[in-house]
């Protein structure tokens, strides 16, 4: 019996699912291994009978929370797909402000009374990663995900191995590819603290790493801040780097402080 797999999406661009749809020749092999029973982006059929739920997107509204819990109840294995599901995505940045402030920033204050309305889409718009609500068994990180890594995780699950998500910095793969370090050409990069596994794709093409796969366990954050400072970034610019995909860690620290 092939395991039944269903894909779900919440607040996201659905680009990670698109990566899977784009697996090209490998997709045939994937279909041989699993039964895809639900995948809104590529098929009409849908079934609520599945073993593995692969969930993209962050959780925003109470109705999303309910839906996610239902998915969790039905699935034997739940996988968070991509940065939104893993870290809350770039939208997690919004948690720095109150919903009122967010509405003002986004829509302006032409109609001040609108800010206080009860539109359900603005209800408690706090962005959360999946594991802030339900148990997540495995994570496929990245914005977007690395499609080869998706295949590797699937293979691992089907062969009884722990999915091989690396826990070393992006620098490791970047060095192995013999890239010119961006720090040496006047750019700055989150590579030294960001979780690798992406094959350093951004630095390879000259783009600064923004830690879309989150940090490694135990990142040397202070050393990284010192380095960014040394390379001329202002405190505000440093904070921008640290909040792009990784506001989650700052938020967790703030929550921790509150609880102490």
């Amino acid at each position: 019996m092939k395991p039944k797999v269903a894909f779900f999406d919440f607040a996201s661009c659905e680009g990670c699912e698109l990566q899977i749809a784009n697996l090209e020749e490998v997709i045939i092999d994937v279909i041989k291994l699993v039964d895809v029973v639900s995948f809104r982006e590529v098929m009409k059929e849908h079934s609520d009978d599945y073993d593995i739920a692969i969930v993209e997107g962050s959780i925003t509204r109470p109705m999303d929370e309910e839906r996610l819990k239902k998915i969790r109840n039905k699935a034997k294995i739940l996988i968070a797909l991509g940065a939104c599901a893993h870290l809350g995505g770039v939208q997690k940045l919004g948690n720095q402000w109150t919903s009122k402030e967010n509405k003002q920033i986004v829509y302006g204050i032409a109609n001040p009374k609108d800010i206080d309305d009860n539109n359900p889409f603005f209800e408690k718009p706090k962005q959360r990663a999946l594991d802030e609500i339900v148990k997540v068994d495995y994570v496929i990180p990245g914005c977007p995900i690395n499609k080869n890594e998706f295949a590797r995780v699937l293979i691992a699950l089907l062969t009884g191995k722990k999915p091989p998500i690396p826990d070393y910095p992006v620098c490791v793969e970047c060095k192995k590819k013999e890239n010119v370090c961006l720090f040496t050409v006047g750019k700055v990069c989150m590579g030294p603290v960001a979780r690798g596994g992406c094959d350093a794709i951004c630095p390879t093409y000259g783009n600064e790493c923004e830690a879309c796969r989150g940090y490694v366990s135990y990142p040397h954050e202070k050393a990284q801040t010192d380095v960014l400072e040394k390379y001329g970034l202002t405190l505000e610019e440093i904070m921008n780097r640290k909040t792009m995909f990784t506001y989650r860690y700052i938020e967790a620290k703030k929550e921790g402080e509150k609880n102490e």
Binding site: V26, K161, C171, A223, Q224, K230
Partner: protein, 673 residues
């Protein structure tokens, strides 16, 4: 020394490239820096480079390497497709040649890596003098600015001419170019300028004649270029390599380590770009067909947190200070002690690529020197004291590294001992006994799942052997699903076991904690089988809870033996569980037996915390340190002393251990951490 015109030299390189019989690699530019890579034309060659991003080690220990491919249905018919083409590497600076010679020593002096040897034998090295020196280089003061061996050809770019020194016969032959190209041209391409635009047939035939002896002025010029490079690469290092060993020995606890490592990102760059860092990690991948797979090797580095992570999740060098310091000690003390040379060649790659700028050996050594109260004593160990003679070594057949080939074996018996631990009796398919001594270990593989070092638990006799395995990672979990008749791969036995002969006639006290009883049992059973050969024997065994107790039937049998004393304890016993022995930590058993500490040997195996307290109590009773024998059996990795993970300070647990005499370990700060 010979001289050839620059034009002819480049024509020679182009001829090599066009020939196609060999891979011609050389230094070229990449995004404003330099790298080694395949040359498509001699015009790409940059003999004026200062330093490359990665050292040429990548040709001999690639960043990623398929060690073997396998079919899960027939796992022991492993294959490895290896490119058999000869390689020529053009443009190695002297420091990189010396680093490569150090690499030779590492992979060839003991436990020969056959793939390394093959690649090395299959590669011609063309060295060159640095015309430009990187800002961070200090090879001048490291004594690595000049080499007199280790290359096949050595060239110096004199502008319109190139000076060539022939290092080996093969290098000389390359220059004479007695290769396929001439035959090819003879047959069909004679005179074709489109195929060989830079080298006419005529030129080719006369090539040898175009080499002339260097004039005294030209020899002088080469010397001047060489000296200029070295004098530019001094960087004010205050302690020469011969003093590093002593300086490091006396400053292990220096404040410098803390100060520097506070700034460390732990990104691993310094080890990855280092020409004398050789540590690697091995992993199995299964392909998407779920039928085939690969065992792969990739670079690892001691600055990375995961480097010292055990299957249990425990990280041995968790503190960045320990990891930062380890790298310097490996260069300046551990490898020198092991192989006789200082493992830093002054290329400056680590310093120029370290973002917080703390990896620089010049800075670290100078800071250490400035803060040290000690006078530095010089040793005989320098950067180029290398014994390995490659020319005397024969490359062997087979593409899979002999160090890493698992041999098939069959599970004969599988017996679940506790919730997590299972005993496996294994028969090597070769029909020969494993041939281990008590305390040694084997590498057990399941293709696609990986490999793990596991202590042999049975006494050394018979055609089978036993291991007892705790379910923790991918491999051990899979192993627990296997049944008698299933196949596993084995390598070994490895390591240093118990010195049985030195124990003969002695009184013995065994103190085992938790799964520490597993390797200890191989010696206990040996002793019980040869009971008359030993004095008094006592066995103390402690576990956390009754459900964790291993070998219950055997323990009960030991209880009945008249000539041994045997006590068991558990730290705690939950309500409702029956337990008829002692309750309390293992140390509480020691006062319960009578033994003369002076004439008794204690064999202690257990978790780190146990060593601390048990050894303390034994020494307090007056037992001499050399009477305590321990096994650090959790720390092994590749088994052959190459991958680097098993190091505690300078000791390789896979080679010198896992069994040690306590007095040899007590001064190693990392031993019982």
């Amino acid at each position: 020394m010979k001289i050839v015109s620059k034009e002819d030299f480049l024509a020679f390189v182009n001829a090599l490239i066009k020939d196609g019989g060999m891979d011609i690699e050389g230094v070229k530019s990449k995004d404003g820096r330099f790298v080694y890579g395949p040359l498509e034309s001699a015009s790409e060659l940059r003999l004026d480079y200062d330093v490359t991003i990665l050292p040429p080690k990548k040709y001999f220990l690639p960043q990623y390497e398929t060690m073997m491919k396998f079919d899960l249905a027939d796992p022991f018919s492993m294959k490895k497709p290896e490119n058999q083409k000869k390689k020529v590497i053009i443009g190695m600076h002297p420091y990189d040649i010396i680093a490569l010679r150090q690499m030779d020593s590492y992979f060839l002096d003991t436990d020969v890596s056959t793939t390394y040897l093959k690649r090395r034998k299959n590669t011609l090295i063309i060295g060159t003098d640095p015309l430009n020196v990187s800002e961070k280089a200090f090879f001048g003061i490291m004594g690595t600015g000049e080499v007199h061996s280790g290359y096949d050809l050595f060239i110096t770019d004199l502008g319109d001419r190139v000076a060539i020194t022939i290092g080996t016969e093969e290098g000389g032959n390359l220059l004479r170019y007695e290769s396929k190209l001439r035959d090819a041209i003879d047959v069909s391409l004679c005179g074709s300028t489109t195929c060989y635009p830079l080298l006419s047939y005529d030129q080719l035939l006369q090539y040898e004649n175009k080499l002339r002896d260097a004039s005294p002025v030209e020899v002088q010029k080469v010397k001047a270029i060489r000296e200029a490079a070295s004098s530019k690469a001094m960087r004010g290092l205050k302690v020469k390599p011969v003093g590093w060993h002593d300086l490091l020995e006396k400053n292990y606890d220096s404040e410098v380590w803390k100060k520097q490592s506070d700034k460390c990102l732990g990104c691993g760059t310094c080890t990855l770009v280092c020409p004398t860092c050789f540590c690697y990690d091995v992993q199995d991948d299964i392909n998407i067909d779920l039928k085939t797979g690969e065992r792969r090797r990739t670079w690892d580095g001691c600055l990375l947190r995961k480097f010292t992570e055990l299957a249990s999740g425990e990280v041995l060098r968790e503190d960045i200070l320990d990891r930062y310091r380890h790298r310097f000690y490996r260069k300046g003390r551990y490898l020198p002690d092991r192989l006789g040379f200082v493992a830093c060649v002054g290329c400056g790659r680590c310093s120029s690529q370290c973002i917080p700028d703390i990896a620089d050996p010049v800075n670290a050594i100078n800071m250490l020197f400035d803060s040290s109260q000690h006078v530095v004593k010089e040793s005989l160990m320098d950067t180029h004291t290398i014994r390995t003679d490659l020319s005397k070594m024969e490359s062997k057949d087979g593409d899979i590294d002999a160090l890493h080939v698992p041999m098939p074996a069959t599970l004969k018996r599988v017996e679940k001992l506790t919730e997590k631990e299972t005993l496996f009796e294994i028969t090597p398919d070769s029909g020969k006994p494993l041939g281990h001594t008590p305390g040694q270990f084997v590498e057990v593989s399941i293709m696609g799942m990986g490999e793990a070092p596991l202590s042999v638990s049975s006494a050394p006799d018979g055609k089978t052997f036993e291991i007892v395995v705790r379910k923790v990672g991918d491999l051990t979990t899979k192993l627990h699903t296997l049944k008698p008749g299933d196949k596993v791969g084995i390598r070994g036995p490895f390591g240093n076991g118990f010195d049985v002969d030195s124990l003969k006639g002695k009184n013995l006290i065994f103190i085992g904690g938790g799964i520490g009883i597993i390797p200890m049992r191989s010696l206990i059973n040996y002793v019980l089988d040869h009971r008359k050969g030993f004095g008094k024997v006592a066995i103390l065994y402690g576990c956390k809870e009754p459900r964790e107790v291993l070998f219950k039937d055997e323990l009960a049998a030991w209880d009945k033996l008249p000539d041994i004393e045997h006590l068991r304890t558990v730290d705690k016993c939950p309500d409702g569980v029956s337990w008829e022995c002692e309750i309390g930590v293992i140390t509480t058993l020691i006062p319960k037996i009578k033994f003369d500490p002076k004439s008794t040997i204690a064999i202690v195996v257990g978790p780190p915390i146990m060593y601390k307290f048990v050894i303390r109590d034994l020494l307090k009773l007056g037992m001499p340190e050399e009477n305590v024998i321990v096994s650090l059996e959790r720390r092994m990795k590749c088994g052959v002393g190459k991958c680097g993970h098993c190091q505690i300070n300078g000791v390789y647990v896979c080679k010198e251990g896992p069994v040690f005499n306590y007095k040899d370990l007590k001064n190693l700060p990392e031993a019982f951490k």
